[in-house]
Amino acid sequence: MKQIFNFCAVAVFVFTMFCSCAGNPPKDERDLAEKAFADAEPGKDCAKEDYLAAEDILNQAREAVNKKEYDKARELFKMVKEKSDAIVKYYRENPDKCMPGNDKKADADGEGKIKEEETPEAAANPAEDPKNPEMEFPTVHFEYNEYAILADDMPKVDLMAQWMVNFPERVVRIEGHADERGSVDYNLSLGEKRAAEVKNKLIQAGIDSARIKIVSYGEERPIDPASNEEAWFKNRRAEFKREN
């Protein structure tokens, strides 16, 4: 009996070792690669060869995941990401060739980062015009375990304040959110602090506090359910909602 037990223990050990070598599916790498490849789409004509190559490698990587060859898949996904980023860089630097008539957009984005809710022609876009009653409300982001508004996002709060000045009958709800790391209790408090911080900034800009409600959802309402830095960044946020 004991021998059987020992044998089992060894088997489990060996199995565990094997597993740690083979690892888990490369989810983060895959997400990054798929996203980078999607972003490279505007370059599919002007950087055709590179684009087709990236597509080919991506298909190989997906195939490797299906065959559970995770290490191989991980490397391939990384290659896809590199190739795709290069395509993005190329079409941004060569807007005439790749995106005739849309060169401003390419310049504004810079560094391969894709903006989520804004198109760069802010002033021209009625969705971001504070004189528009139907203006699309921005989302404000935060650092991990912090509730200070990121400097880059301060103009969003100013935009919101302007809109509230323009529409004095409107009441707004600020929803504070945290990323998944940390306890539910603590993240509810953190989300509350984030929402309160944005509220304070609006009050400092002259908005009546009675027109601003806040609610924290803690980690319960992620925008992106993935467990990686990119998702966490998106999820640490304050959103504005119309109360009336």
Binding site: M1, K2, I4, F5, N145, G182, S183, V184, D185, Y186, L188, S189, L190, E192, K193, A196, I214, V215, S216, Y217, G218, E220
Partner: protein, 435 residues
């Protein structure tokens, strides 16, 4: 039978158990999984009784032995002796041959009145140590009898008094965006949905001291308000709906006070609320976040999380003198989820380690020693003690999704106990039921 003979029999049992205890004690102290091999023979089904019930009783007893971490429960397939062998004709040689140290064996009969006859044998000594006959009219009661028997055996062998078998666990079950408040038996069986499924959140369930109600927070009115649901009627009442947070309720032993975190005064602070009079008393006052209170079993103090030092740490505070505050955790920069043990001796919490992963730890309040329960097994959060303080339930994503796990307090035995589809979050262990 003479008194004399009974005395000798009792003495024999006593000596046998002393002997076994001595044999086990070293290993228990050691904190490692014991080398004591326990065989639980299938029951001999004599007449009328459902064979399924007989099998369920055996596997339930096995599960109880297993989770304590004191025993290796042997696989029935290896057994050489048939269950039908009469209880006074046990061939101990056959049990020694399968390396058993202890044997549980019994019979079950009857349908309207179920008679369960169980005995525990010391295989090494070749004698019966303890036996009992239980009569019941319901299958559920027969199973409880088997639990009582298992608790007796554990007590004989280890001196530990355990009653976790007579308790339930509440938790949040999350499927996609849908929340349910679920209650199961300690072993994950007997799932019952108390609240939900709902798209509004259901968070941080916590039992009332008498085990008749569960407090929880929900955003169903677009604010995180505190509710209470009655287990018998499933009726829901609002307990606290101040603007802002009404979260992290912990129930006091007086069965009417709850301490909770409110943000109505502009910052997360801890208050105690008399649910009978709605009288509110503020307990903390700090610019930092104070949250996640857990009240001591005598109601004299709370442990809670505060980031007053810069990052979340565990503190304890006297409720009779609010100026008496002591920081309990010094290691690590993210400690959270504190939970008092029902014996008042320990506090479990989850802390982030050097690999930025959350694990379960236990502080011994007398010595301030901190022991680690989980390591290198995914994210482990929301610890909750069994009513006898012998086991810790928690949520772990070691196998992918967050699931309910139980561990003994030394962390040497950890098992998953609930196989439902969704994620299992924020478990809360009930007080012990009458058994």
């Amino acid at each position: 039978m003479s008194v004399h003979f009974r005395l000798i029999a009792a003495l024999t049992v006593f000596l046998a158990s002393m002997n076994l205890f001595a044999q086990l004690q070293v290993e228990v102290k050691d904190g490692s999984v014991a080398d004591y091999n326990m065989a639980v023979s299938p029951l001999a089904v004599l007449d009328g009784t459902d064979a399924e019930l007989a099998a369920d009783i055996v596997s339930s007893v096995e599960k109880v032995f297993d989770i304590t971490g004191f025993f290796n429960v042997l696989n029935q397939k290896s057994f050489l002796e048939k269950p039908e062998v009469p209880m006074d004709k046990v061939d101990f040689k056959l049990w020694r041959n399968v390396a058993a140290n202890g044997l549980v064996k019994g019979t079950i009969k009857g349908k309207d009145e179920i008679v369960l006859d169980l005995a525990f044998y010391d295989v090494n000594g070749g004698n019966k140590v303890f036996g009992k006959t239980y009569k019941s009219t319901k299958a559920g009661d027969a199973k409880k009898s088997a639990y009582r028997f298992a608790a007796e055996v554990i007590k004989i062998l280890t001196k530990e008094e355990m009653n976790f078998m007579f308790s339930k666990i509440a938790f949040v079950e999350k499927k996609g965006e849908s929340y349910s408040l679920v209650v199961t038996n300690f072993d994950g069986s007997g799932r019952k949905v108390l609240v939900g499924p709902s798209s509004a959140t259901i968070l941080l369930p916590e039992w009332s001291a008498d085990g008749s109600k569960i407090y929880y927070t929900s955003h169903k009115n677009n604010n995180p308000n505190l509710f209470v649901v009655d287990l018998a009627t499933t009726r829901i009442k609002t307990v606290s709906s101040y603007e802002g947070l009404n979260v992290s309720a912990t129930a006091h032993p007086d069965n009417k006070t709850v301490s909770l975190c409110l943000s109505k005064d502009g910052n997360s602070e801890i208050y105690s609320l008399d649910t009978a009079t709605n009288e509110l008393k503020r307990l903390t006052k700090d610019v930092g976040t104070d949250t996640a209170p857990s009240v001591s079993p005598d109601g004299s103090e709370i442990v809670f999380v505060s980031n007053r030092s810069g990052n979340p740490q565990i503190y304890r505070m006297s409720l009779t003198d609010l100026s008496k505050v002591e920081r309990l955790t010094e290691q690590g920069n993210y400690n959270q989820d504190p939970e008092y043990s029902p014996d008042g001796k320990k506090v479990a919490f989850s802390g982030r380690d050097e690999k930025y992963q959350f694990d379960i730890f236990v502080i011994d309040l007398a010595s301030k020693q901190i022991s680690r329960i989980t390591q290198n097994q995914g994210k482990n959060e929301s610890p909750t003690f069994s009513p006898d303080s012998k086991l810790i339930g928690f949520s772990s994503n070691r196998n992918g999704k967050n699931k309910l796990f139980l561990s003994n307090v030394s962390g040497t035995k950890q098992i998953a106990v609930y196989s439902g589809e969704g994620e299992v979050l924020m478990p809360s262990w009930s007080p012990a039921e009458n058994n």
